[in-house]
C-alpha cells in the first residue's frame, strides 16, 4: 500500500513537511509513504489549459492516481488554505468524472505556530476535498506551536500527538483496505 503525502507549505523548513516526515516514521506494516515535492511547480489553474495541461500537472495527477491514499498536511494563512495547495487540488479535481481525487481516500492534518494548529485550514481543506470527489476521512490532527513540537529526528515530542498521528495514518490505511474490499481493487 502506498500513501502520497502532500505538504501545503512550500517553505524549506516547513513544519507541515516535518509533520509528514514524522508520519513516515509511524507507518503500519506494508505501508509506504512518499512525500510529494512538486507542489511549487504546478502552474495556476486555468480552464483554457485543461485540454493540454502542463507536464507538472500530469505528474501531480499521476502521483495521486498511483497512490492508494493521500495524506495532506496544511498550514493556515488568513484562516484558510495556502493558495498553491488549493490550486493543486483544483487541478486534481477536474474533469469531475475522471478526477485523480475522485473516490481517493484522503486525510487532513496540519501544523502551525499558533495555538490552534491550522484547525480552520484543515476544515476548509476537508470541505474542498469533499467537493473534489475524494473520500475524506473524518479525522483531524492539529499540531499547535509547531516550532516547539518536533525533536531533531522530526518526531513529535508530545507522545499523545505522536499516537494521534499514528492513528490518522492507520485510519487512512484502513480506509484503503475497506475501499479495496468494495471495489475489488
Amino acid at each position: 500500500m502506498r500513501l502520497l503525502a502532500v505538504s501545503g507549505s512550500l517553505r524549506r523548513d516547513s513544519h507541515n513537511s516535518r509533520l509528514l516526515r514524522a508520519a513516515a516514521q509511524q507507518l503500519p506494516p506494508g505501508v509506504e509513504l512518499e512525500i510529494y515535492d512538486g507542489l511549487k511547480q504546478i502552474p495556476p489553474f486555468d480552464e483554457d489549459d485543461e485540454s493540454a495541461p502542463a507536464p507538472e500537472v500530469l505528474e501531480w495527477r499521476d502521483a495521486i492516481e498511483s497512490a492508494d491514499a493521500v495524506l495532506f498536511a496544511t498550514p493556515e494563512y488568513n484562516s484558510s488554505i495556502p493558495g498553491q495547495l488549493k490550486n493543486a487540488v483544483d487541478w486534481a479535481s477536474r474533469p469531475k468524472a475522471q478526477a485523480a481525487l475522485r473516490n481517493k481516500p484522503v486525510a487532513v492534518i496540519g501544523a502551525s505556530i499558533s495555538m490552534f494548529g491550522a484547525l480552520w485550514s484543515q476544515a476548509e481543506l476537508r470541505k474542498v476535498l469533499s467537493a473534489s470527489g475524494a473520500r475524506v476521512l473524518d479525522t483531524e490532527l492539529a499540531v499547535a506551536t509547531a516550532h516547539e513540537a518536533f525533536d531533531d529526528e522530526d518526531q513529535l515530542i508530545e507522545a499523545e500527538l505522536g499516537d494521534a498521528l499514528g492513528s490518522v495514518v492507520q485510519d487512512l490505511a484502513d480506509a484503503v483496505q475497506r475501499r479495496s474490499q468494495t471495489v475489488g481493487a
Partner: protein
C-alpha cells in the same frame, strides 16, 4: 373495455411479473435553489412483482446508482461521489415491499423498506395499477406507477449549501417516481 382497464389485485393473475426496462422509468425530483424543481433519473434498474394465488403480492426493486443520469456530466460525477450517493461504496438502492394493496379503482399502496447507502427505513408509496392487458404473444402486462417523498438526509444524502440570503440550495424532501411496465413470466 380497452387494455387500460384498471383492475384490483384480485383480478391480477397470479405469477411473477418482470420488468420491461425499455418501457419503464425511475426518477427523482427535488427543489433546487428554493424555487425550481430539479429532476434526474436512473437508467438501470429492475423490479419484480410477485402475485400469489391468494391475491397477496410483493414488490422488489433494485436501482444501479452509477446509472444516474442528469443533464450535466460534472453534476452526475458529483452526485456519484462520496459527498452524495457514493456509488463506489453503495452501488445499489433497494426497495422491498411485502405489503401491496390494490383498491377497486386500481389505486395502489405499497409498504416496505427503502435502502440507500446501507441505511434502511420503512416507506409507503402510492400509485396505480393498470391492466392486466393481454399483449402480443399472449403476454400479460401490467402498468404500475408509484410515487413517494423521502427525507434524503435520513439516508445519508446530506450535501447542501447555504444561500447568501437564507435557505439552502437543495431541499431535503425528494420525490421518487417509478413507472413500470411488467410482463408476467411464462410458467
Amino acid at each position: 373495455m380497452s387494455a387500460t382497464e384498471i383492475k384490483t389485485s384480485a383480478t391480477i393473475p397470479a405469477g411473477t411479473y418482470r420488468l420491461d426496462p425499455v418501457h419503464s422509468s425511475a426518477g427523482f425530483a427535488v427543489k433546487h435553489m428554493v424555487v425550481a424543481t430539479f429532476r434526474g433519473r436512473f437508467e438501470n434498474f429492475d423490479a419484480t412483482l410477485t402475485v400469489d394465488e391468494n391475491g397477496s403480492a410483493s414488490l422488489t426493486g433494485a436501482v444501479q446508482v452509477d446509472s444516474l443520469e442528469v443533464k450535466d456530466e460534472n453534476l452526475k460525477a458529483h452526485l456519484g461521489s462520496p459527498e452524495f450517493f457514493d456509488a463506489e461504496r453503495y452501488p445499489e438502492i433497494r426497495f422491498d415491499a411485502s405489503q401491496v394493496d390494490v383498491a377497486h379503482d386500481g389505486s395502489l399502496t405499497v409498504a416496505g423498506d427503502l435502502t440507500i447507502k446501507d441505511q434502511t427505513h420503512p416507506l409507503q408509496a402510492t400509485g396505480t395499477v393498470t391492466g392486466p392487458a393481454v399483449t402480443f404473444g399472449d403476454v400479460i402486462k401490467l402498468g404500475v406507477t408509484l410515487e413517494t417523498v423521502i427525507d434524503r438526509t435520513k439516508y445519508g444524502l446530506n450535501w447542501n449549501a447555504p444561500l447568501p440570503k437564507g435557505g439552502f440550495a437543495l431541499a431535503d424532501d425528494v420525490t421518487l417516481t417509478v413507472e413500470l411496465e411488467l410482463a408476467r413470466e411464462e410458467a
